[in-house]
């Protein structure tokens, strides 16, 4: 059952973070704060592209943004 393994890894990884000092200090996060590093730089455009795929593929979910409706005839 791959989801059980993934869930276990997720929990282990999350709990392991409880006792660690942040290994990337705030002053080291300039690159990560750059807009080109955003997972969702243009939410309206991203939602549209997800909708294009959702209407034409069997897969759905975990897109990292919102979709909605059908319009898929």
């Amino acid at each position: 059952m791959p989801y059980k393994i993934i869930l276990s890894l997720f929990i282990l990884f999350t709990l392991s973070a409880c006792n660690v000092e942040p290994w990337v200090k705030p002053y080291e996060r300039a690159n990560l704060a750059d807009p080109i590093m955003s997972f969702s730089p243009d939410p309206l455009s991203q939602g549209y592209i997800h909708h294009v795929y959702q209407a034409r593929e069997g897969a759905r979910g975990a897109e990292g943004g919102s979709g909605g409706g059908c319009g898929c005839n």
């Binding site: 996060r29 549209y48 897969a59 975990a62 919102s66 409706g69």
Partner: protein, 400 residues
């Protein structure tokens, strides 16, 4: 053959969600870093999709504005104007075109309470034969020195399905309903000062009338196997699906970014899908940002899908479908975007603005869905279907 949904999958999913919610509550109590509201921003988009005999165009507008230090509101208006002479329409009613419009409106409120960001949203989507109302709730939290963000989400949707007869008049005898419940868990993690990764897990359950009321399957005629008959599709009335996605972005030393995504999907109908995407973002000349990406997707078919059913299946099988979205197929996308930023740091009410152009080319290749439009061919020997799509987005973004 009798096909059934898998109730065990729902139970396993519910248990997993329970564990994750408990874990999230534990983590909330150990957190020490405040979240922030989304930035104020407005976008106006024109979109165009053209492929497989379908043209869909329309505008979309999204406005987000904070009204206090802890509350941000957003509203979205989206329109699809559809002109379709697709292979599905031709298979059902012959060579003809239908016109349709879909209008979607949504409103959301983000609320920041100390270290927790909550989001409530409502979305309504209306077509002449389909209405959808969705309520969603999400909560997210930054943790461990801001290196990690954990989020949980739930959405419930109610759909009303109708059917039109000729010239768009609704069939008074056809009225069906369906519901969907969606659970999301997300984790975003800073790995190094140049690498950030995220994982997203989604479970969706559907119940009710789930098929397209217009589409038909085909089956071989008992006395003439070179020919076929058509009947309305029959879908199961439940569906449960799981999706897991892993994403990463890496900052390159000369200020550029690589991104990658992998997603895997399974559902109780037997569909197994995977997609991979890689991309590269490159700013240049101070005000320009260029981006290229490549995506590929493949899926197996649903257990009750056939391009052409046998006469015995037609007589005995409970569920029968010929939707190409449920077939075995793959697609590949190559795309690019270019963005020009202006009005930066000039004071006044606008912080920055950008005009953006994006283009995507998708090629779909079906492995068990045939182009049955030429009815002179022996049934089941027609060429496999494939088509290309061109997608254009032009939009203006303003940060204020």
């Amino acid at each position: 053959m009798v096909l059934k949904a898998v109730p065990g999958a729902v139970v396993a999913v519910t248990k997993a969600m329970r564990y994750l919610i408990a874990l999230f509550i534990v983590l909330l109590s150990s957190s020490g870093i405040a979240a922030v509201l989304p930035v104020d921003r407005a976008d106006a988009l024109f979109h165009s999709y053209s492929g497989g005999g379908i043209d869909i165009t329309g505008p979309a507008v999204l406005v987000r504005k904070s009204v206090s230090d802890s509350v941000s509101l957003s509203a979205k208006h989206y329109v699809d104007t559809i002109s379709s002479a697709s292979i599905d329409v031709e298979f059902i009613v012959g060579a003809s075109t239908y016109e349709e419009e879909r209008v979607e409106n949504s409103f959301s409120i983000d609320y920041l309470n100390q270290k927790t960001l909550m989001n409530f949203s409502y979305t309504n989507s209306e077509e002449n034969d389909f209405s959808a109302d969705t309520f969603a709730f999400g909560i997210s939290q930054d943790m461990f020195g801001d290196l990690m963000t954990v989020s949980l989400g739930y959405a419930h949707g109610d759909n009303v399905v109708r059917k039109t007869e000729t010239k768009g008049v609704l069939d008074p005898d056809f009225l069906e309903y369906s519901q969907s419940d969606t659970f999301n868990v997300g984790l975003t993690q800073v790995i190094t000062k140049n690498l950030i990764m995220s994982a997203a897990f989604n479970v969706t359950t559907d119940a009710g009338f789930l098929n397209n009321p217009y589409r038909k399957y085909r089956y071989r005629l008992s006395g003439d196997p070179s020919n076929y008959g058509k009947e309305d599709e029959k879908y199961p009335e439940t569906r449960t699906s799981n999706a897991l996605a892993i994403r990463a972005r890496y900052f390159l030393p000369y200020r550029a970014a690589l991104h990658a995504e992998f997603r895997t999907f399974q559902d109780s109908w037997g569909i197994d899908g995977n997609n991979i995407e890689i991309g590269y973002t490159h700013p240049f000349a101070d005000d320009w940002i260029a981006e290229v990406h490549f995506r590929t997707y493949a899926q197996t078919n649903a257990t009750f899908y056939e391009d052409i059913f046998t006469y015995q299946q037609f007589l005995n099988q409970n569920f029968l479908a010929r939707d190409k979205e449920l077939s075995t197929f793959n697609n590949s996308t190559i795309g690019f975007g270019i963005s020009y930023e202006f009005a930066k740091g000039e004071g006044g009410t606008i912080d920055k603005a950008a005009v953006n152009f994006k283009y995507d080319y998708i090629q779909f290749n079906y492995e068990d869905f045939r182009d049955a439009r030429d009815e002179t061919l022996y049934a089941g020997t027609e060429p496999l279907y494939q088509f290309d799509a061109n997608i254009i987005q032009l939009f203006l973004s303003v940060w204020f």
